[in-house]
Amino acid sequence: MKTFRIGGVHPEENKLSAGKKIEVMELPRQAVFPLSQHIGAPAVPCVAKGDVVKVGTKIADAGGFVSAPIHSSVSGKVLKIDTAIDASGYRKPVIVIDVDGDKWEPSIDRSEDIVRETSLEPKEIVARIQECGIVGMGGACFPCHVKLSPRTPVDVVIINAVECEPYLTADHSLMLEKPEQILIGVQLIMKAVNVQKAFIAIENNKPDAIALMKEKTAAFPGIEVCPLKVKYPQGGEKQLIDAVVNRQVPNPPALPADVGAIVQNVGTAYAIYEAVMKNKPLFERVVTVTGKSVANPMNLLTRMGTPMSQLIERAGGMPEDTGKIIGGGPMMGKALLTAEVPVCKGSSGILLMTEKEAGRGEEMPCIRCSKCVSACPMGLEPYLLAKQSERSMWDEAEVNEIMTCIECGSCQFTCPSNRPLLDWIRQGKGTVGGIIRARAAKK
């Protein structure tokens, strides 16, 4: 069984919503669209207060090349352009739309028929993807068209269907229900970057998805299913490329394309199918609502801009003992300030943790057991980096490659002394990154 080479941990999987059908979430009364739903420049509003929009109407233009436009997920009237707290915890500019119904732009193909053929050229495919505002849907939200315009030729596409975060099942459920559409999406990616070979990487804890995708790939030459060992962070981009094609991407500024690989999330492949074949912009996605005390953990096809509280209500309501609401999975997700945060392009899941689960254990001194060193998938020394950050030893931290850290949290997960290793390292990365940028600016 293939896997990445260095480190890794195995958290409890807790895939409570696995095998549940995707249900359609009802429309919100008010939809909120943050202008920064992606990495890069924020989008720029192209509607004004009082404008009438339909489902699929563009409401904000891309703010640059590394940016993506935003489309309305509802029909209604623009109420205001304001600020609101988003998943980052900060107040950010948003467009608020009062919902009056579900009238779609006529250009969108709403039929259930699967479209298999397109006459579009690679450049046109990428342009369509760019217009439809597709970003990486695994959580990082990197604008998709940028990845599909590599500066060097690539020879392999890897579809990330690993879903190594515990609890989350959005990608899993999508594979079970839309396998063919996903594969057509993969074909489109392959055509866009002129590659003959693609792997669909799935962790071995999803045998039903592996079997179904294997069966369907028979009709798609060049696409192969690659089952992977269940190990966290198998879905980290660098780890995934290492596991599937045995190539290691060097530190930034190197990109996956520099070793000839492009990675796209499986949800992104589906969104690409819908964008290119159905002319449908990215305005809805599958969101897992889960947690041990949640009455009905489920997978919900949700329009962007829907407040998370509405999804939690649908899954049985907020349990009394909730201590933390997490956007994403438990290993890399962010604790949310409020349940009113809207669903965005990168919202793969909402995880409710009980007060008991949410607490951290008592912090003890480092006993130098070296378990963090063995767990680090980047081959770093987390205990040392954390200590150096704690003591503001920035030069030493830089020499010990603090910037290589991918913030997967394996070190802190494994620490028997409950030390906040990643908290310190994250802080150190912020400062060291600033020092490096300042140095580069001086030159």
Partner: protein, 314 residues
Amino acid sequence: MSPHVHGGDSVKRNMRWVIAAMMPALLWSFYSFGLGAVVVTLTSVVSCVVFEWVINKFILRNPRNTIADLSAVVTGLLLAFNLPSNLPLYIIIVGALFAIGVGKMTFGGLGNNPFNPALVGRVFLLISFPVKMTSWPVPHQMSAYTDAVTAATPLADLGNANLADLFFGNIGGSMGEVSALLLLAGFLILLCSKVISWHIPISIFVSAFCFSVLFYAIRGGMPFADICMLSLKHLCAGGIMLGAIFMATDYVTSPMTHKGMLIYGVLIGFLVICIRLFGNYPEGMSFAILIMNAFVPLINNACKPKRFAKEVKK
């Protein structure tokens, strides 16, 4: 901030497994040395815990006392393992005070000590009470304590010792070191519970055996088969097993990377054989480990883990 979940490992869990792994050898010492072994163990453990508590409370004024993490219990057990079973109470108490007080708490307690506390205690006693620390009771005197009949360590005359006796522990010696077999059982427990990796103990065994063969071969005058036999006896006699499995693997005082652990282990093996063959002491394991403890920061600096997408850099 993420991660929001934890693997559930704890200092206490690790210490519990270390204690569990010491149980086979401890029970054997009770069986071999009877009353004396029980008295020495209890005294050592109780005084280590009490000293840690007192120092925490009255000298460091730590708001949270650290005895609950069980590390003092482990130190107490390890110290007892390194003592003969006929040692008078006051010597044990002095040893425990030195181990916990000087070996551990002066540096700031758990996690900060450069040297293995139990070994610091043992070596202090060895230098202070050389005769009492090197006269070992003959096994199977169940009700004897300080009045036990003693004999020299088999290490003094390794050529005539029986390998099977050494391996199963039918000999005199420090309480916990006599049965190689049961110490290896403890090794297995530590490996299976993932408390330690194989690197340090195995590299010590291999290195000690190889250097012993090498030195005897250079000295000459013995057929090769005898040299190998003698080298095997070296592994089973004295403190090599105990030291390699329980003392050299102490988290706090051993290197952080597998490569570093191998270097550390090989050098301990080399040192212990040098001390045994060329030094004044018949036994050298404590010194070998303590000397290498001092090199651990240097080893950590020299041996970085293999970084992702990079050859190992110095």
